[in-house]
């Protein structure tokens, strides 16, 4: 039993944002896999919850807009992101990332929007959404605005989403994914039911002959207090022959990230992982793009 004082099952997005505007204590609950765990842990007793769990018509599912933008409803289960034909055809690396949180049951309760709003650096979709440059549409009674993912994270577990705002759509424009192949590498201490010790997403666009790195995005989770892109490392390998890029990327990524010591892993070990995972992710991404390595 949860310490809930007020539970409203929203009937529409409009209804949800109205309640959020009225009740400054209200929080949004979607899949519940994060919020209920925190509530049970005593994080916010006597919770006021606005459930968007049943808003399938407005907030669930993946579609492809006419301009090629991938549009993902925030209450889409991880599992449905993975299995979506649109995702598989456009941003398959995001589908792969959504196949890694927890276990199968979690992936049919946990939602991609919840993963974003949770704003944890370890969130499995964070580095991939970062690499794809996702746009986050949020709505409140005050109106709608778009927050680029680069501006989403305000600190560990904190986002720039206001209390009265609701994430209503995740968008990935066509030019953010077209021509890229990618790889998400989750490093955990076991192979399931795991929180990432480190997450790494590499997207790469190869030259026509598959030998040069035309473009690259390299993003990490748990390499800093928030998800981040290794922009300097990207810049340094852009235009390099693929083999050279593979050789260089590890050290470049290590220089561009700031992991810390914790009881879960030492800084030295995380740096080792950053180097190794960057290299392996680039190789895997390039192979998917047709490179022979």
């Amino acid at each position: 039993m949860y310490d809930i004082e007020y539970l409203h099952e929203a009937t529409s997005v409009e209804d949800a944002v109205q309640v959020l505007a009225r009740d400054s204590q209200a929080r949004v609950i979607a899949g519940g896999t994060d919020l209920l765990v925190k509530n049970r842990d005593g994080k916010f007793p006597a919770a006021h919850l606005v459930s968007i769990h049943e808003l399938h018509d407005e907030l669930d599912g993946v579609t492809l807009a006419d301009d090629g933008t991938v549009e993902i409803g925030p209450i889409t289960w991880f599992h449905h992101v993975t299995t979506s034909p649109v995702i598989q055809a456009t941003v398959p690396t995001l589908g792969d990332a959504c196949d890694t949180p927890g276990g199968p049951q979690l992936r049919v309760s946990g939602t991609i929007g919840g993963n974003v709003c949770n704003a944890a650096t370890s969130a499995d979709t964070a580095s991939t959404l970062y690499a794809y440059g996702a746009l986050l549409d949020v709505r409140s009674v005050r109106g709608e605005r778009t927050i680029p993912i680069e501006e989403w994270y305000a600190g560990p577990g904190k986002s720039t989403l206001a209390q009265d705002e609701l994430l209503v759509r995740i968008r990935i424009p066509k030019d953010h994914y077209e021509g890229f192949t990618g790889h998400y590498f989750k490093y955990g201490k076991r192979r399931a039911l795991e929180i990432a010790t480190l997450g790494c997403c590499c997207l790469v666009k190869l030259s026509a002959d598959k030998t040069l790195v035309d473009d690259i995005r390299l993003a990490f989770g748990v390499a800093g207090p928030t998800p981040l892109r290794a922009l300097k490392a990207e810049e340094a390998v852009r235009g390099l022959p693929l083999a050279k890029a593979v050789e260089a990327i590890g050290a470049l990524a290590q220089a561009d990230t700031h992991p810390r010591d914790s009881w879960r892993a030492s800084k030295a070990f995380r740096l080792q992982l950053i180097g190794e995972m960057s290299r392996r992710s680039l190789v895997a991404a390039a192979r998917k793009g047709g490179a022979t390595l």
Partner: protein, 170 residues
């Protein structure tokens, strides 16, 4: 305190109406109000899978599922699997035959995830099955006989066209 609410849904093939406290998880309601005690509480945070049931055919951790959300849903637990004459369902039978059961606490959850798998009507590699069951922790079996049972049940169900029957029953 919030007022009690009424849940109307289908549980093990029967229409059910039951009063619930909106603070309850589906795990609480199934165990304490409907006495479906096969639904086990192991961790309450979606890590162990002991409370897994099928909600509209999907294997779901009921500890992280508010009862409120079960409104109108179709819920299946281990208590609803055997035939009216007591004949075990093929998944249950495979768990017995393959010695997959030790302390038995995680077993109802594992069986329900296997039920979801057999209802797809296809076969899977052992590694695929390992992944599909990776949301369950078992401390007794090392999963060895569990995997044998699941593999056997899945193959048997495909050979005997069981998914269609199960579909019809649900």
């Amino acid at each position: 305190m919030m007022d009690m609410r009424i849940l109307t849904c289908t549980v093990n093939g029967k229409k059910v109406q039951v009063g619930y406290d909106p603070r309850e998880s589906l795990l609480d309601t199934l165990r304490n109000r409907l006495h479906l005690t096969s639904v086990k509480r192991g961790c309450e945070v979606g890590e162990c899978g002991a409370c897994t049931v099928l909600v509209d055919g999907v294997a779901t951790d009921t500890c992280l599922y508010l009862t409120q959300w079960a409104q109108g849903k179709d819920i299946l637990t281990v208590e609803g699997l055997a035939a009216p004459d007591g004949t075990l369902d093929p998944v249950q039978q495979a768990f017995v035959d393959e010695f997959a059961v030790q302390c038995g606490f995680c077993i109802p959850g594992l069986i329900m995830s296997t039920e979801e798998i057999v209802r797809t009507g296809r076969t899977y590699s052992r590694d695929e099955l390992r992944k599909l069951l990776s949301g369950h922790l078992c401390r007794c079996t090392g999963y060895q006989d569990v995997m044998n049972a699941v593999e056997k049940a899945v193959n048997w169900c495909v050979e005997h066209g069981y998914s269609d029957q199960a579909g019809a029953r649900a």
